[in-house]
């Protein structure tokens, strides 16, 4: 070919996509203002002295106070215990579900994830009724053997309740790792003469470790961040309740509260980072996903498997039963079961004080809707855009996972308190809008993740072939992308809805007035007095029903991948 030297080499750079750029900038600004900035304000209070200079003196004071040292140690130790006991329940269940095929497995699997979606503080009350000092079990023990066991006293109670609530996190993550182990990997080991427990120790265990570690760290974070359970059980010497008490009783300018918040954030971030790092380093189990090993079991083996899993789940589901009984009880004290029954508790919450349920539906409905829109936009940018700043957006949108609810709430109070929001004539923190915002931002990672997962199933060529056949980018999104990720969007939205329904740790700090509170706040308020416990339990039943309906729909929309949302 003749070289036409006269023709200058035309250089055309890839055009900058302004639409994408504008979207990215808007989302970055939003996440920055509603996630990073409030947390930074908290950080700054903890790190600055009166003259706004950087100082570590507050942290020094924190570690000098025996009360706080003890709270830190208690939090770490109880978190560890929750993981250790949780693993004892979770790992066998995960193994059984991943490796055996039997009738009723689906039912057991569903039951095993239920504890996760019911707020632990609701269960705490039920446990008091059943295992407390004058609960059913101890009454029996006293009657027959003349002694009682302090199940629910102090940290023991917190660990017990949290273990039974957070073990599904370990189970789900371990299960995913187990399911990803290609059957040939174990068959190869068998053909080389390795079997039984040796096979488990040398091949299966190392391959499932990433999921196990990830799940354990996740359970650890959730246990440490949990504010409702210790408050309900009146065990205050943990970090989260200490932060809450400092700020609500001493005032929003109390530095110690902020220092505790920062310690909580550091613990959460470190755990989350470690979990990600570990999973990232050790994802070899999922390199090739072929057939996974499942065998049917029968006879004696099946009987023992069923018995063991049913027993474990029976204990874990005890609170649900307890709450249900309590909601129907007129009198239930110093007795095995309620002595007089009533529907009055439901009349109270449905007719006399219906605003808790109404508020919950409005707030969480709005928050879930916003999450779907924001999540779809963010996930789309993450999956398809190569713009600079996409990684930053990813980090900012994922950050809420690592920020305890208490901390974000404190940050919002710090930012919005005393600042009349334009157009409202009042600070944002004195209206219900603040609750919608906090729910939206805290659950945003769920919808981002669900959409992102759905988008990754949609091969780019499906979109490109539409463009190739004449559909513009917007048309392509509308006709091809959206129908294909619809399931993921719905699932993410439902998950945001379900988890917001029972959110307490930031709600309790941000509710401006009692009549603006949602269900979780209502339960907390009712549970403060012995007379209100029935109504509180009735609200608890409503919450459980809402969550159960949402979870069921999520499974319908998302199928077996629903558990993926609880992964790291």
């Amino acid at each position: 070919m003749a070289k036409t030297a006269a023709a200058p080499a035309v250089i055309i750079r890839a055009r900058v996509d302004w639409l994408q750029g504008a979207l990215l900038a808007a989302l970055l600004a939003l996440c920055f203002f509603l996630v990073l900035y409030p947390v930074a304000r908290v950080l700054w209070v903890a790190l600055a002295d009166e003259n706004n200079r950087l100082t570590l003196v507050h942290f020094q004071n924190f570690f000098l106070r025996p009360l706080f040292r003890e709270a830190l140690w208690n939090s770490l130790w109880s978190g560890f215990l929750v993981v250790a006991f949780g693993a004892l329940i979770a790992v066998p269940l995960a193994y059984v579900f991943a490796r055996y095929e039997f009738r009723g497995k689906i039912l057991l699997q569903t039951l095993a994830t239920l504890p996760l979606v019911v707020p632990p503080f609701v269960g705490a009350v039920a446990f008091q009724q059943i295992l407390g000092r004058s609960g059913a079990v101890n009454l029996l023990l006293m009657q027959w053997f003349d002694f009682s066991i302090p199940f629910m006293e102090g940290m023991t109670g917190v660990v017990l309740v949290q273990t039974l609530h957070f073990f599904p996190l370990i189970m789900l993550n371990t299960g995913v790792s187990l399911a990803n182990i290609d059957a040939t990997l174990e068959e190869m080991a068998r053909s080389l003469g390795c079997h039984g427990f040796r096979l488990f120790r040398r091949v299966t265990l190392p391959l499932m470790l990433p999921g196990f570690v990830a799940g354990s760290l996740l359970a650890f974070i959730r246990a440490i961040d949990d504010l409702g359970t210790p408050l309900m059980l009146n065990y205050k010497n943990l970090l989260a309740p200490q932060a809450y008490l400092r700020i609500t009783t001493i005032g929003i300018d109390d530095v110690d509260g902020y220092v505790i918040c920062v310690v909580l954030v550091v613990l959460s971030l470190a755990s989350l980072f470690a979990a990600r790092k570990y999973v990232g380093l050790a994802e070899y189990a999922t390199v090739q996903v072929g057939r996974s090993a499942r065998m049917p079991i029968h006879g004696k083996k099946l009987f023992f498997v069923l018995l063991a899993s049913a027993l474990a789940l029976a204990v874990a589901l005890l609170p649900h039963l307890g709450i249900f009984l309590l909601s129907l009880a007129k009198v239930w004290s110093y007795s095995m079961l309620p002595t007089r029954w009533t529907l009055d508790n439901y009349a109270e919450i449905l007719f006399r004080v219906p605003h808790f349920i109404k508020n919950t539906l409005v707030y969480t409905g709005l928050a879930a809707g916003l999450d779907v829109v924001l999540g779809a936009a963010i996930a789309f940018l993450l999956a398809r855009s190569r713009l600079w700043g996409v990684n930053l957006l990813d980090a900012l949108a994922t950050l809420p996972l690592a920020i305890p609810g208490v901390v974000l709430a404190v940050g919002y109070i710090r930012v919005f308190h005393g600042w009349d929001f334009p157009g409202l004539g009042a600070p944002l923190s004195s209206t219900w809008i603040i609750l919608v915002i906090v729910y939206t931002m805290r659950r945003l990672p769920y919808t981002v993740r669900a959409c992102h997962a759905a988008l990754q199933q949609v091969h780019v060529s499906l979109e490109e072939s539409a463009q190739n056949l004449g559909a513009s980018r917007l048309r392509t999104f509308w006709r091809v992308t959206l129908p294909l990720i619809g399931g993921g969007l719905v699932a993410g939205g439902l998950l945001a809805f379900v988890t917001s329904c029972v959110e307490l740790s930031s709600t309790i700090m941000l509710v401006p007035r009692v009549e603006l509170g949602p269900i979780s706040y209502g339960i907390y308020v009712y549970m403060q007095s012995p007379l209100g416990r029935g109504a509180g339990a009735a609200l608890g039943v409503v919450a459980i029903l809402l969550v159960a309906a949402g979870t069921y729909l999520t499974h319908r929309a998302f199928g077996a991948r629903a558990g993926g949302a609880f992964r790291v």
Partner: protein
């Protein structure tokens, strides 16, 4: 159907430090079946995506029927692309998949229907309109993808390894069908593949690519019979290579001494002189093992020992050790079979020995 002429001028595309394509100049005439052939990662798919408009080149221009189209988005280029994965939309039926492009072009209902049915008939899928892509076999999905693209009567057809996901038997059948379809329609076609057999069978012209550059361009016969480089000789068909120096030249023949000490005769080329270092190649199918005591003075005869013999029904593939150099031979319709360990003569005609341009 309109057939476009396509020109690539100095196309370059860089990912980080790696040039996926660099300085590519190609002209593809109306109605041609033009193949980009190369190993994976050579930049052929990037080039196709640059033509389709999915990748913006860092350098150079794409000219379609005399118009530069660099700034024209993919949905306005009117080039029909068939993806390696077929990219059928799982949420639409076969009919809806094929009708997609017509609906985007605001074609009326009745005409859409008849054109979709025509297209499906052309690819032999009449009656499958209401089925979902997931209910179809790989070959059927392939046909739907083709129909979906042809129905909009594109200016050119872009095919990205369309046969690579089919099993061998189906591939051979689809290959012939594609050939007939393209010659019938006369549509300009650009075909990306790493399979040299497909490329040789289908193309009117081939560009062999390696590391983002076009190494050699020509008709299938030119590419196969006159490769200019070791890369092309090894990638398009198989080759036995000999590295050596010319010892005698003249009288219609050249004699060289290879690095292993073998003497090989080749048909003369005007520009060879004694002492010159050159590389020769001979195709395995031009080589045959023969009994040691045979005579044929004007052929190359090298004594050796069979190290492997693979009987393949229609042919036999041999590997023969000649003084430490391993030579491959491919014999069709064999009359005599040799076995591993047999002492044989490796025989090939000097006329079948080719020169590579590189030294």
């Amino acid at each position: 159907m309109q057939a476009a002429e396509l020109r690539l001028e100095r196309i370059g595309k860089r990912y980080g430090d790696v040039w996926a394509a660099r300085g590519v100049d190609l002209t593809i005439g109306r109605g041609e079946f033009f193949t980009l052939l190369g190993p994976s990662g050579c930049g052929k798919t990037t080039l196709l995506r640059i033509i389709a408009g999915f990748v913006a080149p860092d350098e150079g221009i794409v000219v379609l029927d005399g118009e530069p189209v660099n700034s024209v988005p993919p949905w306005q280029r009117d080039l029909g692309m068939v993806f390696q994965s077929y990219a059928l939309w799982p949420h639409m039926t076969v009919f809806e998949n094929v009708a997609f492009g017509l609906r985007e072009r605001k074609v009326g209902r009745a005409e859409t229907r008849s054109r979709v049915l025509d297209a499906l008939q052309r690819v032999g899928l009449t009656g499958a309109e209401q089925r979902r892509p997931s209910e179809l076999s790989g070959g059927q999905q392939q046909r739907v993808a083709l129909a979906r693209t042809l129905v909009i009567q594109p200016r050119a057809l872009l095919l990205d390894e369309p046969l690579s996901n089919l099993d061998a038997r189906l591939r051979a059948g689809m290959c012939l069908e594609l050939l007939k379809l393209q010659r019938d329609l006369g549509i300009t076609t650009i075909y990306v593949t790493h399979d040299q057999e497909e490329a040789l069978a289908l193309s009117t012209r081939i560009a062999v690519m390696d590391a983002g550059k076009v190494i050699q361009e020509g008709s299938p016969r030119e590419i196969y019979e006159r490769p200019r480089s070791r890369f092309v000789a090894g990638f398009v068909g198989d080759s036995n290579l000999f590295f050596g120096a010319v010892t005698r030249s003249g009288g219609g023949a050249v004699e060289i001494l290879t690095d292993e000490g073998l003497t090989i005769r080749a048909a003369a080329r005007p520009d060879t002189a004694p002492g010159e270092k050159i590389i020769l190649y001979v195709r395995p199918e031009a080589v045959a093992p023969a009994a040691l005591d045979g005579v044929s003075a004007d052929l190359n005869r090298l004594p050796g020992r069979v190290t492997a013999a693979a009987y393949q029904g229609a042919s036999v593939a041999y590997e023969i050790d000649v003084q430490g150099k391993s030579i491959r031979a491919h014999v069709a319709h064999p009359k005599i079979l040799f076995e591993r360990g047999d002492e044989v003569a490796v025989v090939f005609d000097p006329k079948d020995v080719g020169y590579l341009a590189e030294k």
